[in-house]
């Protein structure tokens, strides 16, 4: 089933997502990885209620492009900070690789293929730095996406696509 997702998300919308579903995300999503997670778990610089976080950090933007290449990074590296961020309202995380359903309890984990970063950059229509500019490529970004493709890897019931 193909579903459209748009942040901010409600619990009701999350419940509709079943493991294996293919979704297309539209609207604004946050981009953060290791160092930004460490900081956000302590004190969130923006309202995270209903938010979607994409685990990534893009390559520098070349001229005439909206953004550089931007694929997912390994999700398990954010595990230590994920429950705290879910408490702060994060509803969906997007990354790559196997993950323990316990870690993402109360949220939905989506995967996108790793290493197809040039292709994924084509779904992004705007980008801005929200916080931690000093982290350079690891800064917290907000990007606007159209038809950003992902697969439900762990749903709200804790069912996982990974064996």
């Amino acid at each position: 089933m193909h579903i459209e997702l748009k942040a901010p998300l409600s619990e009701k919308e999350l419940r509709k997502l079943k493991v294996g579903d293919k979704v297309f995300i539209r609207g604004k999503i946050l981009v953060a990885r290791d160092l930004a997670h460490q900081k956000m778990a302590k004190k969130a610089p923006v309202d995270l209620n209903g938010s979607i976080i994409y685990y990534a950090s893009p390559t520098p933007r070349p001229p005439h492009h909206i953004i550089g290449s931007i694929g997912p990074t390994t999700a398990t590296r954010m595990d230590a900070f994920t429950p705290a961020l879910i408490k702060k309202g994060v509803k969906v995380t997007i990354g790559k690789g196997k993950r323990n359903p316990e870690v993402v309890k109360g949220s939905v984990y989506l995967v996108v293929p790793g290493g197809v970063a040039a292709l994924l950059s084509k779904s992004i229509v705007s980008t801005r730095v929200l916080a931690y500019p000093k982290l350079g490529s690891e800064a917290l970004l907000e990007i606007e996406v159209i038809d950003f493709p992902a697969i439900v890897a762990i749903d709200l019931k804790g069912r996982s696509i990974f064996k």
């Binding site: 550089g68 694929g71 790559k96 293929p113 040039a118």
Partner: protein, 274 residues
């Protein structure tokens, strides 16, 4: 003696860094196309198609294949009759990396200190492996390798009496436990023998050759790995690895080190001769 200006090396390294990051090598592309034909999972096929499409976009628009443009590994064979003029080899290489990563809009992923985690934004230093060989040429190979796949690697010191089967189990278990996070389909580099430091280097060097399993052991391991069902990006399917490469070296009578270096499908290796 043959004089090679350091500047020429800088230029070559810069070009190789940009090419490696934006152009998928032909052998990987061919192997992916073959895998696409053999893949039975529809999600698996979809992902393999996306990987091939990504390579087209990256080449056409000179965008990096992967946002993780990696650490830079430089393997350089230096002919005994070569003399480098106008600067040091190390500086020439690092200047090339710095220029390539700046001009190619590549992500800088190298921290200056492993504990304080500062990123000076140069992607330096390159990890350089030199070898002195007969002749008057420089053979330069640049490999850029992402952190996700590198993190899935492993080493184990086996007993000299350990069986080949035990080694194979270690290799398969490593892929089984970590493979989904290393961006499969993988290339599994294996180093057998040498010492504690040499085995991982053998594993890494095994990744430099043309993609394809050749020996009986490599072919058997590939078949077993592809029966694990991990599939492209770990979402199921028969394409978990594109190849298993093994490189061996003599070792001590007491030891049998085995190292596994996991490589992702965005395999970025380019070479040139000066």
């Amino acid at each position: 003696m043959r004089n090679i200006p350091a500047q020429k090396i800088t230029q070559a390294i810069k070009t190789l860094c940009i090419q490696a990051n934006t152009e998928l090598t032909g052998d990987v592309e061919q192997t992916l196309k073959k895998a696409l034909k053999a893949e039975t999972s529809s999600t698996g096929r979809e992902i393999l198609e996306q990987i091939l499409e990504n390579a087209k976009i990256a080449k056409r628009e000179k965008l990096p294949l992967c946002q993780d443009c990696g650490l830079v590994f430089v393997f350089i064979e230096i002919g005994e009759e070569v003399r480098i003029s106008g600067g040091s080899l190390t500086k020439a290489i690092n200047d090339g990396v710095k220029q390539g990563y700046k001009e190619g809009f590549l992500r800088k992923s190298t921290t200056s200190d492993p504990l304080t985690r500062e990123n000076p934004g140069t992607n330096l230093p390159a990890i350089i492996h030199t070898e002195i060989v007969p002749g008057n040429k420089l053979e330069i190979t640049v490999m850029t390798k992402g952190g996700g796949a590198e993190n899935c690697s492993a080493i184990k010191m086996f007993k000299p009496t350990s069986s080949q089967k035990e080694i194979e189990t270690f290799i398969i278990e490593t892929v089984k436990n970590n493979g989904a996070n290393g961006c499969p389909p993988l290339i599994v580099g294996v180093g057998i023998g040498g010492s504690f430091d040499q085995a991982p280097l053998l594993a890494k060097k095994s990744l430099l050759r043309k993609i394809g399993s050749k020996s009986k052991m490599e072919k058997e391991l590939l078949a077993k790995i592809n029966k694990l069902g991990i599939g492209p990006m770990g979402l199921g399917g028969r394409t978990t690895a594109l190849a298993v490469h093994i490189k061996k070296a003599p070792c001590h009578i007491s030891s049998l080190p085995v190292a596994i270096n996991i490589e992702c499908h965005a395999h970025r290796v380019k070479s040139t001769t000066i």
